[in-house]
Symmetry: C2
Subunit: 423 residues, 2 copies
């Protein structure tokens, strides 16, 4: 049956749809194209360039630095200012981020914006509206896997970064093996290990899995954590064999003068603040940049107490009786390597990190005087003021990747400390 | 002329367009609807709720806290954990953010995600691809005004927040008057002043404009800054009459053991790092939350030296010979108010902030011992180690809102300090 108005209605509908689609696409905008090298060109399309003004260029010329005009870029400026010798090197590094939640997502975004070479992301959670009180994820991403949502956003921000995402829980046996394989082989050049693993997870089991993997592989990693009450956090650099691993000593947190545990007890709702998570992610990625690009002082441990704005730093020796046999093996390797080095170098190294201040090998790097340390009270007299133990060491002697759930030790901290001292 | 295939082709085109539009909209997703009160309901659509798991709920019940099950929310958990007495109060506050760049945009995002009542944003810049090495803005926003792009993103994240944005430079005479009017009247309840002004600008002139406005209005504000080399920053709380204003003393920065000035010289390309900016924004908004919600210790000055992970804190008395007459007036008002208070209260207050440690009234709140202070070297012997002067005080006696550009003082720091001491 002929409908004379049908053609006209269809034509109008096509026009409407085309307009709506155009509006939709305009609103979202087009992502920028990839850039092969950190170009020194001063063009509007170079995201690494500096937003220059005419007056400024004139001044730069007056200063006899005309040749540098083209390379004025905000990140590359770190080089010109003498902070970093070779900023471009950032593009050669691969970093694995385990846990893409409140800290991990911001960590991945910072690394992406800094121009890291490749990012491996591991997480098995989905974005929920309950996550909106931290940074990064947006309400329209609710329901997507965190790694998928993160990859989409990060690729838009910087298409020069390579992404490899894994939507699984690293603590199950099969996934753990795959995780080990990817951190061993997943660098920019396939077959080479990643440069750094960052732990941004929110539970003890996942931290232990990362610790186990890194001890076995001799993989340098950094741990991060935010307390359950959201007002303290910390980052820690772990060099297997050289500094205390996660199983060497009870992981430490900065006390906020309130009872707290970093360990997230499942189902007990933890508080969270975008502020604390932003600060911890910033401290973490700053430490990553300093470590990878070789500038400033890399912190072995940096705490953050938001209640008092207190930021303790320290370093810890590994425990020769560590329950992880791979940690003990790495310690032996490190000792042999140190013994083989020319003497001056060894001394320099020792001054830098290994000290015998106390039973736990905790060395104060700054801010806390010997007097303050001696006056420090609390359940662990050897710990500097403001630092307390986050969680106790599990009972098991060997590593935890058995497919079972880790059971938290019921022993008191004092009992554990006494036991470890008598080991 | 009849075209028998035309109807069919149009129908196919409508289907294609509808599908593409649906894909486009799915990709972007729908923003969430507004929520009138911080509801305790545990539903998937409540962004303030905690992501609870069954096992957890059981545990919560075992702990005899069944009644709290519904109110387990990540932000509200701050209340349950004894950190904040009345978190919901956050929705009653209005904060003005001046400068929506590297620090200001993250500051606005944190406040939005925390559920602030109203945000006023001031900036006159456009988003550029050169901004992509800081957090927040995305490449597709290039060309939009920063306040417009920020409002769009922030409204999607949390439609419960009220936004008022001004795309202008606050330092010109007309705009300055409008700016004064909005911070005096732009609270949630029109006609009332905002609760806090945050300076996230990158130049001296804008900081001076905010200082002038806040001294005149007796408006409490916080200043923030990141050094030109991107590896240090600071935040500062300024209570007119009670703590040093921006004109009282040369604003201070944390030294990174390298020559630096926070003052952005126009055209000289400053380095910038998302890490430093994220840490400074986190410190700033944490201080805002502590100040507004009355928990923890609000810092008068908190510095960040990224090279050494050093975070000095201190506080400064106002300068009785401050060049800003409104600052001097506020000092008189404060003295009168303090004199009228019961004695114990005055003492408590004095212990908290006003000390006479040195000519500059700089008080060490923590971390730096008296010995370290005495041993501190550098051009300004009264300043604690690690703190140096960011920029010098301009020559002019009166405030700077004259429509002219501020000229930087050519006097050496030593000359200025000597002059001020002899005032």
């Amino acid at each position: 049956m002929a409908d004379p108005g049908r053609l006209e209605r269809l034509e109008r509908r096509v026009r409407e749809l085309e307009e709506e689609l155009a509006r939709e696409k305009r609103g979202r905008g087009a992502a920028r194209a990839r850039i092969d090298t950190m170009s020194p060109e001063v063009t509007d399309s170079n995201p690494y360039r500096c937003a220059e003004r005419l007056r400024g260029s004139a001044r730069v010329r007056r200063m006899g630095r005309r040749e540098s005009r083209g390379s004025e870029r905000r990140l590359m400026a770190l080089k010109r200012m003498g902070i970093v010798k070779d900023y471009e090197k950032i593009r050669t590094f691969t970093v694995a981020v385990v846990g893409v939640g409140g800290v991990g997502s911001v960590t991945a975004e910072m690394l992406t914006r800094c121009g890291i070479g490749k990012l491996l992301l591991f997480d098995y959670d989905k974005v929920e509206l309950a996550n909106m009180n931290r940074l990064f994820f947006q309400p329209h991403q609710a329901g997507l896997s965190k790694v998928q949502a993160a990859e989409h956003t990060l690729r838009d921000i910087n298409p020069d970064v390579q992404f490899e995402v894994h939507n699984y829980n690293i603590t199950t046996l099969d996934n753990f093996e795959h995780f080990m394989d990817r951190i061993s082989n997943g660098a920019l050049e396939e077959g080479k290990p990643v440069d750094l693993v960052l732990s941004c997870v929110d539970n003890f089991e996942a931290r232990m899995a990362i610790n186990t993997a890194c001890n076995e592989l001799g993989q340098i990693w950094m741990e991060s954590g935010v307390s359950e009450n959201a007002v303290s956090g910390h980052i820690q650099l772990i060099i297997p064999g050289e500094s205390a691993c996660f199983a060497c000593a009870p992981p430490l947190v900065v006390a906020a003068n309130i009872d707290e545990k970093t360990l997230k007890r499942e189902g007990v709702c933890a508080a969270s603040l975008p502020t604390t998570m932003g600060v911890v992610a910033g401290m973490l990625v700053q430490n990553v940049l300093k470590y990878l690009l070789n500038f400033g002082t890399v912190s072995y441990y940096l705490g953050y107490n938001a209640m008092q704005d207190f930021f303790p730093t320290m370093s810890m020796k590994p425990n020769p009786q560590c329950s992880d046999h791979n940690c003990r093996k790495q310690q032996e390797n490190y000792k042999k390597k140190e013994a083989a080095r020319p003497k001056e170098e060894v001394i320099e190294k020792e001054e830098e990190i290994v000290h015998e201040d106390n039973d736990w090998g905790i060395e104060l790097v700054s801010e806390i005087s010997e007097e303050e340390l001696k006056a420090a009270s609390g359940p662990v007299p050897e710990l500097p003021e403001g630092i307390s133990v986050a969680y106790t060491i599990p009972d098991k002697e060997e590593n935890l990747i058995t497919g079972e759930t880790v059971t938290e030790s019921e022993e008191s901290l004092e009992e554990l400390m006494a036991k470890m001292r008598n080991m």
